[in-house]
Amino acid sequence: MQTVKMVVSGAVNAGKTEFIKAISEIEVVSTERRATDDTKMIKKETTVAMDFGRIAIADDLVLHLFGTPGQKRFDFMWEILSEGMLGLVILVDSTRPETFRETNRIIDFFVSYRDTPYVIAANKQDRPNAWSPEELRLALRQPPHTKVLPCVASDRESVKNVLLELLYVIQERSEE
């Protein structure tokens, strides 16, 4: 049995748990604990460890999805998770510009040492005052070739689209 790994990351409350829940075939394993820091201001229970989801591709192939917390104190986990991952989804809460710097830091971490294939999912596009994907591209200073995709993490079709777009990026770099 071969397993492959994709990582979903983003700032606090970006929608990582919801994103994985929308697509995973198993009940998502979330290690949610009561927040002990300023994340408490944003939601009562925040992801302080990680989420795990799974999609069976075939009898001999499984895709694992890891949702990693965005806080800086979990940097050490990113390093572990980034080893051998196929690609990365960076989730951004499009309604909260105060998280854009944190998002940039996460992108920088994953991408600066390794040329990791990634896409940015502009989550919460169904909310009023959501910044559009193009506005987010400028706010996050991403080059034109980086895919910044509209997303609603609670919507399975939207999540599927983000994963497919990431897979197309990976496909372009794959070998025959």
């Binding site: 895709l63 710097r101 390794r114 910044w131 400028l138 200073r141 497919l164 197309y168 794959s174």
Partner: protein, 272 residues
Amino acid sequence: MALVGNIRDFGLSDFLYLVDRGYKTGGLHLAYKQETALLFFEKGKLLLAARRPEDQQPDLLVRLGILSASQLAQARASLAARGNGATLTEVIIDESLVSPEQFQGPLQSFNEEAVYGLFGWPEGEFRFEQNQRPAPDAPVVPTPISVDHLIMEGVRRIDEWGRIKDRIPSTDMVVRFLEQPGAKTRGIKLAAEEWRVFARINGRDTLAEIAQKTNISEFDVCRIVYGFLTAGLVDVQKKPKPLPLKPGMAAAEPPRVKRSLVNRIINRIKSM
């Protein structure tokens, strides 16, 4: 739809960059304590910056000595006669009440100073109303003002490490030119010290090394590079360092995957 936030979290220079690169048209409303400001942009360029409500009124042109009171009265009468669609600025230019240079110069300086003052705000709520336009009789500049110039000058006035560190966390970072800064560099005027730093950017040297080679303090190098960065001329990155490799592990490249494997995953996701 409005873009809202706080310049504490998403800085004014970042927002101006977005306006510039996104060719945005609209009104940027800012509020900090008892102060407010309103900036109007058209296709990414500044039309008007008002720190007080009266700075959006046509009387500003008299206060700045651009027009006399009687010239302003004449312009307003012509504007009323022209009806919908015309602006006071167009009327003044069309009727040659003042030369374009005499009009642009003092008004541009006034607007620029208004914006530079905003760079000193440590925080402040902002709301950008897309496609909002100034009133027809508002004193807008005849030639809209380039925003990247405003960013460069505004950032020159920042002297707080805190803000600079948001973008440049350490002096071990390497500065490199963006792939296509081309057209953006033309409108920017650099001071002598900025040129010295600019000329040392080679994609290999760290900020600390540039400071050493130019004999400029690390803080000043960071401040100057922060200006280049916010204007979208350069990028800073951590100096690449090799990851600790396990025995037999190849270099820090992502794993090369077989296309057939990726295709299988794509087909599975599509079928879900």
